[in-house]
Amino acid sequence: MPLGRGEVHSSVKFVMQEEPPRTPRTQRREPGGLSSSEEIRLHLARWLGPPFFLAFLALLAVLINLAGYPGRVLSGRYEVTRYELGWETFCQPVGKQQALTPDLGAHKPHPFIHGRAATTPLQKGISMSEKTGSKKVFWLVIFTALATFSVSALLVNIFERKQEARQPFVRVVELTNDTDDPAIWGKNFPQQYDDYRRTVDMVRTRYGGSESMSHSPTQADPRSVISQSKLQEDSRLKLMWAGYAFSIDFREERGHAYMLIDQRLTQRVTEFKQPGTCLNCHASVTTTYRKLGGGDPFAGFEKLNAMSYAEATKLVAHPVACIDCHDPATMKLHITRPAFMEGIKAYKASQGVANYDVNTMASAQEMRAFVCGQCHVEYHFKGPEKRLTYPWSKGLKVENMLAYYDEIGFRDWVHQETGAPTLKAQHPEFEMWNQGVHARSGVTCADCHMPYKRAGGLKVSDHHVQSPLLNINRACQGCHHFSEAEMKDRVETIQSRFFGVRNVAMDALMDLIADLKRAREAGATDSELARARNFQRKAQFYLDLVEAENSSGFHAPQEALRILVESTDFSRRGQLALRGVKPFEKVNLNSHRSKLDLQARLR
C-alpha cells in the first residue's frame, strides 16, 4: 500500500503563527511549481522589461524631438509650425489641430527628414497660438522634469550599488558569551538575521518540507498552524513504533523557528515524562549551559540532562540562535554542544586520530557541516543520568551504530506487539551525508542549505535554512550547470526511487511484526522468539534510520538503498526464523566475486 507522501496537498491557507510571533515574509509555493520569490521577480522583469525599454525609447524619441523647440520658441515662431510627425500631432485633439491649421497645406516637412522646417505664420492671430504655446511649455517642463528625475534616480542607484560593493559592516552592539537573544545579534548582522527569521516559512517539497494545516487553538495547544501528521500519512508507522511515544504523535518537521514550540507542545512531551536532555537540540542552550554550570558548559550540560523537561524548558527562551554556531567575538563557527565534541572525538579515535578537539582541529569547511552535525544526528540518552550521547565510537555507518548499541545492550523501548528490544533512529542527516558523494567532494550542509547569496556587494550565507529544492539556483547551479527543472527532476528521481524501496522495506517489517505477534499469541517462548526479535530490531533500526533521515534518500542515494535492501532482508530472515528455516548464509570463497562480496560485507 504505497501511501504517496508527495501526493497529499492540503489547500489550507497558511495563517500566521503566534509563536514564534515574527513572520517577516511567508509565501506558499506550489509543490511542483517554480515560484520562489526570485522567480516571481524574474517573471515580472521578463514581462515588465520590454515595456520599460520601449517607454524609455519613446521618452528618448520625444526628448530628441523636443530638443529642436527652444530655438524656435525663443524666436517666437514655434506656434505656427506643425510637423507631420511632430509632438503636437499626438497631443492635440484632432478638432483643435484642424482649427489651428486651416491653410497649412497637406504636409509640412519633418525637420529630421527634410532639415529644419520653414515656418509659416498662422493667419488666425496670436491669441489662440499663445494658448497652445503655454500648454506646450507646460508639457515640456513636465517631461524634462520627469527625465531629470529618472536620471537622478539612476544616478543614486548607481551610487548605492557602488557603496554596497564596499562591504560595510557596522558594529552597533557588543556581543558577548552571554548574548543569547538573536535580535541583539541582528542589530550587527541585519541581513543574516532577516534571513534567519524566514525559517518560519512552511513550504512542502515533493517528498519533504512541511505543509501548514490550520489548527483550532486550545488551552493546551495554542498553535493555530501545525504541520501534517506523518502517522496519518502512513499508518504503518504506528505499528512500527507500537508502545513508543512516537506512535502517539509524530508530525512533519517544520523550520528552525518552530523547534522549541513544536517540542513543548507535542504529545510525546505533554503526555510522557521526558528529560531535559531533549532541549540540548531544541533550544538555544549555549548560555544556559554556562549559567547552569557556573561558567562551565560541561557541568551545565550534565545538569540539564539530569533535569525533567518541564523544569528545564523554563531555562530556555529561543530556538537555535546565532550563539549556538558563532563565536560572538570573531563570528567564526564554533561547536557548543558537548555531545558532539564527545561524539566526534570518539569517531576520530576509531579512525586513528587521538584526542580530537573539534574546535581547534577542524577546518573551516568541516565546520560548515559540524555545526549542523551538533544536532542533525542519531543519538541516545545514556544511562540513568540521561546523558546525550552519539553512537559513533565504531563509525558513522548504520551497522557501526547498531554494533555500538548491541555492545552496550541499549534499547529505546520494548515493542508492544512483539516484545522485541527495539531502537528508534532519529534524524541522522549528518551521518547519511557522510556516506554520500557530496561529502566526498567536500560539499557541506551549508553549501546547499545556506548557499551564498548577494546582499548588495556583500556575499552572505543565506541564513534562511531550507530545502535546496526551494532555492535551486543558488544551491545547485553554482556547480551543476543544468536548468533548474533538470536539477529538480534529478533529485526527485532519486527520491521517488528511494520512496518506492522504502515502502517495500516497510511492508516487509509489517509482515515480520505480524508473524511475531501471531507466534507470541500462539505461546512461543522468549527463547524461541529471540532470533526473530533480533531481526526485527535490526530491520527496524535500518529502516527507521533512512525514514527519520530528512532527505528521502538524497544525502546518500546508494547508501540509503543499501540500508533498505538489508532492512528488507532482515525482516524476511526474521520471518524465516519463525518458520524454522535456516537461510543460506555460507559464502563460497572459491570464486573471486565471492571474495569481493565477503570483503564488502566485512568493510
Binding site: 526570485e38 522567480e39 521577480r41 524574474l42 515580472l44 522583469a45 522589461g49 520599460f52 525599454f53 530638443a67 527652444p70 520658441v73 525663443l74 517666437g76 492671430g125 496670436i126 491669441s127 499663445e130 504655446g133 503655454s134 511649455v137 507646460f138 515640456l140 517642463v141 524634462t144 522634469a145 527625465a147 531629470t148 536620471v151 537622478s152 539612476l154 544616478l155 542607484n157 548607481i158 551610487f159 550599488r161 554596497e164 560593493a165 547569496k453 548577494r454 556587494g457 539556483n473 543558488r474 547551479q477 553554482g478 550547470h481
Partner: protein, 161 residues
C-alpha cells in the same frame, strides 16, 4: 502684423519665463545625464578592457576566475562573449548592456547568473572561430544541430564560474 493686446504681451513675457525654466531644466538634465554617464564609467563599456566588466560587482567571480584561467593569455571577455565584426559586437554589447543594467538596477536577477541561449551560441561560435583547425574534424562527422557543445565539457577554460 498681428494685433498685440496687453494680455497677449503679458502672456508672451510669462511664456519666455517658462521657456527660460525649460532651458534651465534641459540643461540640468543634460548635466546630470553627463555626470551619471561619467560616474557610471559609461565610456568604458565601449572598450575591450575586461576591467569594464567588473564595474559592477556581479561579475567579480567570473573576472577573478578568468584571471586564473588558461584563456587569460589568449582572450578577453569580448573575444568570447561578443561576435566578431563591428555590428555584431556592438549590437550584442547594446543588448546585453541594456539587460545587465536593467537587472542590476532593479535587483531582479538570479544569482548564480546564467547565460541566455543567444549568448551561449555566441560563446560557442567564439570557440570554433579560434579552434577551427581542431574542431573542423569534429564538425565534419556531426551535424551542426546535434547539440554538441564545446563548453559542456570545457566549461572552465574561460573562467571557472
Amino acid at each position: 502684423m498681428p494685433k498685440l493686446s496687453l494680455t497677449a504681451l503679458r502672456g508672451r513675457s510669462s511664456r519666455s519665463a517658462a521657456i527660460s525654466v525649460l532651458a534651465l531644466l534641459a540643461g540640468v538634465l543634460f548635466g546630470v545625464g553627463l555626470f551619471t554617464f561619467g560616474y557610471a564609467r559609461g565610456a568604458s563599456y565601449l572598450t575591450d578592457d575586461p576591467a569594464a566588466c567588473v564595474n559592477c560587482h556581479v561579475m567579480r567571480e567570473e573576472y577573478e576566475g578568468w584571471m586564473k584561467a588558461s584563456h587569460r593569455k589568449a582572450a578577453v571577455c569580448n573575444d568570447c562573449h561578443t561576435p566578431s565584426g563591428f555590428f555584431g559586437k556592438y549590437s550584442t554589447k547594446a543588448q546585453n548592456g541594456f539587460w545587465h543594467s536593467f537587472y542590476f538596477t532593479t535587483g531582479w536577477f538570479p544569482d548564480h547568473i546564467r547565460l541566455r541561449p543567444r549568448n551561449v551560441a555566441v560563446t560557442e561560435q567564439a570557440c570554433l572561430k579560434c579552434h577551427a583547425a581542431i574542431t573542423e574534424g569534429i564538425q565534419a562527422t556531426r551535424r551542426h544541430d546535434e547539440g554538441l557543445s564545446c563548453i559542456s565539457c570545457h566549461s572552465d577554460v574561460g573562467h571557472a564560474n
